[in-house]
């Protein structure tokens, strides 16, 4: 099986995370597995609320608690058992071994500290160098992301959204992390700025050799930067494979639906085929396949139990009971 890969930077097994609120238990993450090799990029793609961000936060053990509770599973980050580390060691890892870029650059920088200070802080925390050296290095990092070092002493409100996100990227990469978590890093930005920021990220990641998890709902970004893709639905990975596996030999009806909702420039006459219905209520997930209520291939069997992983190649698996039937194919494959 493909799980025998060695040299993993991240190894998540059967992660289950619930948010226990007054209004009920939100089943945010329901048994996610992620194996990521050093230097590779994994795309987590799925709708808002499918548990992508929660998964990323759990790698830093930053799931807000209360109400978030990690019910079961294990997270090994470069061999370290994140869920059982003492807080001091955890703090030593955050921003150093693994760092995160958040979705909204407008709110993810502290408004009362200068951008330089904020970058220098993470360097001073994790590297054994003087304050002065940390400041110099923070200036270097600013230049690396394309911001003149003269702007070290300015405050976040003096920067545009794209510039702020560059600062966040500089902060995330300052300590040369082995794993970078990017949570929809370009969603809040203008389209033109998006491309620039993505380009910067891609260049730097290659330069630093970090592995990355790219969280997005944009298949275009996935195609651009990822080696592997996990398609997440209702807190589960419903299909996983290499970029090629997912794009060329799509298996899961939900993945098909994602592609169907993209406009096709080459074939203008083709109509968009949005997925009908809504994500199931995460406080009350269906007993069977969570996608069944929206799935056009759904049979009675689908509502009975959650489908298991079905490996279709060394790199590619899908969770869909229909594949138990010989000869089943989704439409996209048939075309």
């Amino acid at each position: 099986m493909a799980e025998q890969k060695k040299d993993l930077v991240l190894d998540i097994k059967d992660l289950v995370i619930h948010y226990e609120t007054d209004d009920g238990v939100v089943e945010a993450v329901n048994g996610i597995d992620i194996q990521l090799e050093h230097g590779k990029t994994l795309g987590l793609v799925g709708e808002t609320g499918s548990g992508k961000t929660t998964t990323a936060l759990s790698i830093l053990r930053l799931v807000p608690d209360p109400p978030g509770v990690i019910k079961s599973g294990s997270i090994k980050l470069d061999g370290k058992d994140v869920l059982n580390l003492p807080v001091a060691e955890l703090e030593a890892i955050r921003g150093n071994l693994v760092s995160m870029i958040f979705q909204d650059p407008m709110t993810s920088l502290n408004p009362v500290l200068t951008v330089g200070e904020q970058i220098a802080e993470v360097i001073a925390l994790h590297e054994n160098i003087s304050e002065k050296e940390a400041q110099t290095k923070a200036g270097d990092m600013l230049e690396v992301v394309g911001i003149p070092r003269e702007r070290y002493g300015e405050y976040p409100h003096q920067f545009s959204g794209g510039m702020k996100q560059r600062v966040v990227i500089a902060m995330a990469l300052a300590c040369n992390p082995k794993l970078l978590l990017a949570d929809e890093p370009t969603t809040a930005l203008d389209v033109t700025i998006q491309a620039q920021v993505l380009e910067t990220m891609k260049k730097l990641r290659e330069q630093y050799g970090s592995a990355m998890i790219m969280i997005t709902h944009d298949l275009g970004i996935i195609a651009e930067v990822c080696d592997e893709v996990s398609v997440v639905y209702a807190g589960q990975i419903v299909e996983h494979g290499t970029l090629e596996d997912i794009f060329e030999s799509t298996m899961h009806p939900y993945t098909e639906g994602l592609f169907g909702s993209l406009p096709n420039i080459e074939e203008r006459k083709a109509r968009l085929q949005p997925i009908t219905g809504l994500m199931p209520d995460p406080t009350n997930l269906p007993k069977g396949c969570c996608f069944a209520p929206r799935c056009k291939y759904c049979t009675e069997n689908c509502a009975k139990s959650r489908p298991d992983k079905k490996w279709v190649s060394d790199t590619h698996y899908v969770r869909c009971s229909r594949y138990e039937e010989p000869g089943f194919q989704i439409e996209r494959r048939g075309q």
Partner: protein, 299 residues
């Protein structure tokens, strides 16, 4: 995110959703034990003030002087003791709750009506009207509210009505500001423009769209302001500018006890406790309402 959702919910507004929303708020409020305790105490206080005459006869017990039993400490016959004229303190506190609660409620109503109207007009019409009204509000704000109340009462002469008016006027600014702010945020929303497009006039818009939308902060403010009105009343009475003897009023009772601090501290202790319990109950309820109306603040 969360804030956007709530704004969204508020914007959907309208009469249809209103009932469901009220039910939701009540459900959240019920979970808050402190707020429910506050509410229970308040209900009890209201009941006591309604049935004060049943509990203690006004002429025979509350204001009848009997110097033979003056300044007695708590006992079986007089649970909280007697005052300098031999009147039962518990009976006076019970009847005093009528004065405090009614002054509190009426004073707040006065400020709510005046302040709300000023704020709504200022916010709705904007421009010069807004400027004029808000400058007036600034002037009122520049004088500390207790001092303003003292000035008004001393000019008009002490009476229950003047007291209510004085306290009411001094908290006009806070309502004017709340309502104005709400109006400004609501005014340009699409659904108000939509209402205007289908021919609703200004008055209809104010009544059916703007007022429902500033209810939340106002409800919270009312519960807290009734509390501060009760505090101001007792403060004014304490200075001798409040309600005249022999009407039982908590602040006046407290003030009356000052001369006997050394030998009969219960004269000041119990009225003070009555005030504290009332204010505490109102504040607990007010805080609970704030949390229930704005779930963002909780967690």
């Amino acid at each position: 995110m969360e804030a956007a959702k709530i704004n969204g919910a508020v914007q959907e507004g309208g009469a249809v959703k209103r009932r469901g929303q009220a039910g939701e708020i009540w459900r959240r409020l019920k979970k808050n034990k402190m707020a429910m305790a506050g509410l229970a105490v308040l209900v009890l206080l209201i009941l006591v003030s309604i049935f004060a005459d049943v509990l203690f006869d006004y002429n025979e017990i509350v204001i009848k002087q009997d110097t033979s039993i003056r300044l007695q400490g708590p006992s079986g016959a007089h649970w909280l003791g007697t005052d300098e004229f031999g009147r039962d303190i518990l009976a006076r506190l019970v009847h005093g709750s009528r004065v405090s609660l009614s002054v509190g409620v009426i004073a707040v109503s006065i400020s709510l009506v005046i302040g709300g109207a000023l704020g709504a007009i200022a916010g709705f019409y904007g421009g010069k009207t807004d400027n004029l009204i808000m400058r007036f509000i600034d002037i009122l704000l520049a004088v500390p509210s207790l001092l303003l109340s003292i000035t008004i009462v001393s000019a008009l002469g002490p009476s229950i009505f003047n007291l209510m008016l004085a306290i009411g006027v001094s908290s006009v600014p806070s309502y004017a500001r709340i309502v104005r702010a709400s109006v400004l945020t609501v005014k340009d929303q699409e659904y108000v423009e939509a209402a205007r497009c289908i021919g609703a006039n200004n008055f209809e818009i104010i009544v059916s769209h703007i007022i429902p939308n500033c209810m939340a902060p106002i409800i919270v403010q009312v519960s807290l302001k009734v509390a501060s009105a009760i505090l101001s009343t007792s403060g004014l009475s304490f200075l001798g500018l409040g309600i005249k003897a022999p009407t039982p009023e908590w602040g006046a009772m407290l003030s009356g006890g000052r001369a006997y601090l050394r030998n009969a501290p219960h004269l000041t202790l119990f009225p003070g406790l009555a005030i504290i319990i009332t204010i505490l109950a109102l504040n607990l309820l007010g805080d609970g309402l704030r949390d229930a109306l704005d779930p963002k603040l909780k967690k």
